[in-house]
Symmetry: C2
Subunit: 205 residues, 2 copies
Amino acid sequence: MVRVSNGEKRILEAAENLFSRHGFDAVSIQKIATQAGVSKATIFHHFSSKQELYITILKQACLDIGTILQSLEKEPCTSVKPLRDFASAHLKNMFDQQDVSRLILREMTDGDIKQGQALAVEVFGEHFSRLIVLIQSGQQEGVLRKNMDAADAAAAIVGLNVFMFQSWSVLQHLPATSFTDPAHTGERWLRLLLLGITDKEETAA
Amino acid sequence: MVRVSNGEKRILEAAENLFSRHGFDAVSIQKIATQAGVSKATIFHHFSSKQELYITILKQACLDIGTILQSLEKEPCTSVKPLRDFASAHLKNMFDQQDVSRLILREMTDGDIKQGQALAVEVFGEHFSRLIVLIQSGQQEGVLRKNMDAADAAAAIVGLNVFMFQSWSVLQHLPATSFTDPAHTGERWLRLLLLGITDKEETAA
DNA sequence: TAAAATCCTGACCGATTGGTTGGTCAGGAG
DNA sequence: CTCCTGACCAACCAATCGGTCAGGATTTTA
């Protein structure tokens, strides 16, 4: 059993919260210390540098997401239901663990720290390959269109979820739209992706 | 004609570049001054504060995007082509003006500065309402499915583009995928969105 | 050409940054 | 009772932060 003192845990919690909301540079050690109810020196007692603290949190975040994604081992894809389940679970997970999700997404898009982007790629690759397998089995079963790249479909599903998560606060303030509940909106978007935007009869490109 | 001194222009260029890449807090006035080839005090001669400089850039960015979007005034949507054009133009514009795009997207998702998020919402709303109108006309013409929310479709189109733009560097490093060229990948994703993922009878591309 | 306005700078300010130092304190082992 | 260790902190450090100011250089205007 790894010993983790009370203070260290509080530091990690505060740092994860602040880093995820404001990013690496906008958060000072002093702010983390204050929010953790600890002196600044204590942080350097537990972590050798600000960057080490950040990477520690990033690794933990990747670990968390990894274990959660494991719970989505699914049966072969004889219908679109596993796809729906995956998408809604993925979306729910993002909103449930906002701090972790924001942290990883931030690292993905910003990527100042070299180690960080590599980690993010690793985590994202995990999502992707799992989802791609799911889609390919669906293609073999004849449920999903065969003349498309499974990777494209996977990217589209994950991409829409990510976009909704990132832009939710903005989407709400948009005029003339009906984006009220993330989960419900996500279902509608996925349905769009499944059925297509075009009207069924006229699908001439 | 508004007079803009040589120095001021260089400051704006440097600031836009740095802010878009690293965010507000991670960029110091000194770094902007150095990259602009100007002394730090000169920046405060032209701008009263760091925040004012940032907002100035943000406003300019919104203006740029606004004028570009105006060039997409399109004829009524009797086919799916205007939709393709909009999407590809939108994507191309993001990659052509990476700094501006990143700046606005960053402000959208981060949103530390109150004024910033409002501006981002305004710009994004511009995209959206234009696109929604386009889609609704397509629905009336019978080209697009009627039993869907035009706002959902618009969000999906823009969302996939945004996701691709933001995550392009990561997508490339993903294993077992064929994401080589943004424009080409974007076309494939849009096709997916138009036709749907699920298999249907008459869906030859 | 002199005055006025603008552009630009080096020197400087108090505050804050990430990080170090020396040391206190509680508790477990011998 | 001593010794050791890990947790913790106030005080401190050099560097950098955003920002100010007085004044030199250059251009505009009168």
